[in-house]
Symmetry: C2
């Protein structure tokens, strides 16, 4: 632990910044100095934006998204397709899908994936609430948009089992060559999946 070189207020700011993902102790110090230098154009607006976030951001009780209203903007958007529910692991995945604009439906954030190693069990995830929402007769399709990792796919199977009795169409994301990807750099699993799911040209 290096000795404190600035007043306790600055040291506290540095220590808190260092706990942000993507910043370590050294880059936090650099960031703090930049913030202090740009006090009026960056530090003050950022402090205000954070204060607003603390006070106003809530978790949507429908889907688990974070927003300033509950139900969230997506859940209360009447233009969304009410027949489809997209199951994602985390809010960041929801944001990624929204950025792509690929689907105009509602989401369901599980809040994690099953993991024996990390002790994450079904009751820790929002699976019961998914089953409730899926039971709504309006819903006809569940898109499982979980990461293509072992834990993600285990969870996908568990979720599929949990809602199987409802007789809904359950789909998952396609495996294949990423757009812009080069075959030489892809793993065998992806190539096998891409060949198996080949489409007419």
């Amino acid at each position: 632990m290096p000795q404190a070189v600035a007043g306790p207020e600055i040291e506290r700011l540095i220590q808190l910044l260092a706990r942000m993902p993507g910043l370590g102790p050294r880059s936090a110090r650099r960031a703090a100095l930049q913030l202090i230098k740009k006090r009026d154009t960056l530090l003050a607006p950022l402090a205000d934006a954070m204060r607003v976030a603390v006070e106003r951001i809530v978790v949507c009780r429908e889907c688990g998204n974070v927003d300033t209203c509950d139900p969230c903007t997506i859940c209360s958007d009447p233009k969304r397709d009410p027949t489809v529910l997209v199951v994602v692991e985390d809010v960041s995945d929801l944001w990624a899908l929204e950025r792509s604009g690929a689907v105009q439906a509602r989401y369901h954030v599980l809040g994690g994936v099953l993991s024996a190693l990390d002790g994450v069990r079904p009751e820790h995830l929002n699976i019961a609430s998914l089953a409730e929402r899926a039971a709504n007769p309006e819903v006809t399709e569940i898109i499982i948009a979980l990461n293509a990792t072992v834990d993600g796919q285990t969870t996908a199977h568990y979720v599929t089992d949990a809602i199987k009795a409802l007789g809904l169409k359950v789909t998952r994301l396609a495996h294949g060559v990423p757009v812009g990807g080069e075959l030489d750099y892809l793993d065998e699993g992806t190539l096998t999946a891409a060949i198996r799911s080949r489409t007419a040209f």
Copy 2:
């Protein structure tokens, strides 16, 4: 520009975070999500620490350091050697020297270095105030602790000229092999300097 995926408050937080050094648009989004998840343990304390920084941090009118008091903790510390002034480019350099604990003197932050390319001229730097402080009869030595870059060394020469008339001892940091450094990876300039300034074993 990707479409906004969250409410305006969250988007604003992300945009401001993306302007911090070390964070880009993507890592800012990740950071924002982490902050929102750790609302009580990280986001709220960080917002408070930033608010305190906005309100209380001032630039020391003596040396140019940033602190919550003016003159700063270092300038008002009676245990510091009053005969030595260490000239640094930026507050980050002052912090680096303080972390090393190598010198127990006072500092003078120039606020930059001369640069023809960036249009930084002597009147943009705190050189006049340095000459004033150096004229204090208590001061007997000026340590020029500027970066060993072209601009840093140009500035060092300019500063030395500006205070030459006062007849003070003016020193600069030694050039040589960094502690832990391997000769094979060092440039010729450093090796030449290290040989020239060799010391008795």
